[in-house]
Symmetry: C2
Subunit: 333 residues, 2 copies
């Protein structure tokens, strides 16, 4: 299997991206990775890899890439040889079975639609991020591909998310819920309300509305919302983690006694951290486009890129795109 | 000062509501509270209060109240003697300077608009909840009064929230931010984008867009969003707290060593808890209506009701409604 990896996307590109490719290729002997980006920078990292790994890592050189703060659609049109664009064109041409980038989210979404195109029947794609909870994973979809949605978009996110959870993440009969401002049927605006009516008739385990508090409590396997709400929530979680970390450090600096306690607590905190570690699940699929496109977190280091490559590999092996295409036929999206 | 308190609203009504009234009246000798609800139930609780307190607690009896799961607008029209309605009518008639309820949020918002009316020029009211952060309080507005917003709504929430933070919570030159799906100007949908343009010209310390992660990090004093997003976020925070608590208990049950650490950690956790304790700030003002209306959390016990009465008292003393009315004139809302 060949996967195209945007070597220039993300805060730690290209070094950590290349190291992630080496790590994944060491694990999966069937995997070949094409690193797209600055050839000399890439070569400097991959030259030290074991031969049985390095023979499966290829390089496509380009000088262009799309920065995190560039306007995605403008940059995508202007930069014909941007690394993310070339990676997607490889998928389009059949030279790679999937592509991965830790770069500009807007560019990944725009590129997915412009280069690969939407699956026939799909109105808008959705980014579904797996959120690790204490005893399960919940897929939150959408987290930023489609900022404001029509009912059909929420409906299709639900169907695609359900297929992804069932087939790629291996959850049997995943439950699907719509995020709203209350559990009662009278809640929600017209868009959410209409999506609810559509989902009530769909061929999925639809459990109705859930509230914000139900997400961390793991009430549903797939939680559907528009990209604005999902993006705000996802980033809020990051902020809470950072704020708690700062607070713990501050407390540690101020007190003597709890420092001792902190030592005892380390195994517990490590365990907690492991449970919530996004790097383990470091890949967010762009669902609804004609090809495997995985977004990795902008702050991804080698381990997260390794996970994102695994997610792409699983998605390809489980024929995820084909399943969504068939799911549309079956569910009548 | 006379405040009308809905004795029948909330999960712990009427006992904890009545105890909250006793607690507040013990602290503030200038305060009189009218408890509106089932007279015999109320009397049973307040009969044990000290005479110098009980003489300042009055009862207005009614058999009707609006349940948490009732449709707010229907219930408000049908139940002419619902406790929350009578409390608001007292404010309207000038028999009380403000009212407080821990009941059905929708009914409080609908009642505020129907009974008290909007301040002239205000399109929709907003619920602004003070979120305690490590070193400050951030006001998140709206958290559920106006589910989907026009640009003018977000703009007016910002102006009203700024006035509230400055005058009632005593923050000098509060910074105001709009919640969006990214910090860059290209982010946001048309509504958020237009509100940004309006706020850039307003007479407040507007710092532009913030992302979800900036809320827990305390980047702004006032964070503005539509009621759908604010409600989802607020409830998400509750869920995170509950999930962490469950997880800690589970971990405690499974390990021996960290239990020792946990003992050492107790003072630290207590300190953390104190910092984030919503009961200390237990009152959410409904801004934009012609009167002081404070929503207390549905799970409020006596201490949170006591805080909500304090919030109402401060709001009355600081002439909050008048300031918003004047702020409109000044800012040209």
């Amino acid at each position: 299997m060949i996967l195209a990896l945007d070597a220039m996307g993300g805060d730690h590109a290209p070094t950590e991206i290349c190291l992630g490719a080496i790590s994944a290729c060491s694990k999966y002997p069937d995997l070949e990775v094409v690193l797209v980006g600055d050839g000399s920078q890439i070569e400097r990292v991959i030259k030290d890899a074991e031969p049985f790994v390095s023979k499966r890592i290829h390089v496509v050189h380009t000088d262009e890439y799309i920065a995190m703060d560039e306007s995605p659609t403008v940059a995508f049109r202007k930069k014909k040889r941007a690394s993310i664009r070339l990676a997607m064109e490889m998928v389009k041409a059949g030279d790679a079975q999937g592509c991965i980038s830790a770069g500009n989210t807007g560019a990944i979404v725009a590129g997915g639609v412009l280069i690969l195109g939407r699956i026939p029947g799909i109105d808008r794609p959705g980014l579904g991020v797996p959120i690790p909870l204490p005893n399960k994973i919940t897929l939150l979809i959408d987290v930023g591909a489609t900022i404001r949605c029509k009912p059909i978009n929420l409906y299709q996110f639900a169907i695609m998310g359900e297929i992804y959870m069932r087939n790629t993440l291996g959850v049997k009969s995943p439950t699907v819920a719509l995020l709203s401002n209350g559990e009662e049927e009278i809640k929600g605006d017209e868009v959410v309300c209409e999506a609810r009516n559509m989902l009530a008739k769909a061929n999925v385990e639809f459990i109705g509305y859930v509230e914000g508090k139900d997400i961390p409590l793991g009430v549903a396997d797939v939680v559907v919302c528009d990209g604005f709400t999902g993006n705000v929530l996802l980033k809020f979680v990051e902020g809470v983690g950072e704020a708690l970390y700062r607070l713990l450090r501050e407390e540690m600096d101020q007190r003597i006694l709890p420092k001792v306690g902190f030592l005892f607590l380390i195994p517990m905190l490590k365990e907690l951290w492991n449970r919530f570690d996004y790097e383990k699940y470091g890949g967010t699929p762009l669902l609804g486009v004609e090809g495997v496109v995985i977004k990795a977190h902008g702050r991804s280091k080698a381990r997260a890129i390794d996970s994102a490559l695994k997610v792409a590999r699983d998605f390809v092996m489980n024929r995820g795109v084909e399943l969504i295409r068939n799911g549309l036929d079956r569910g009548g999206m």
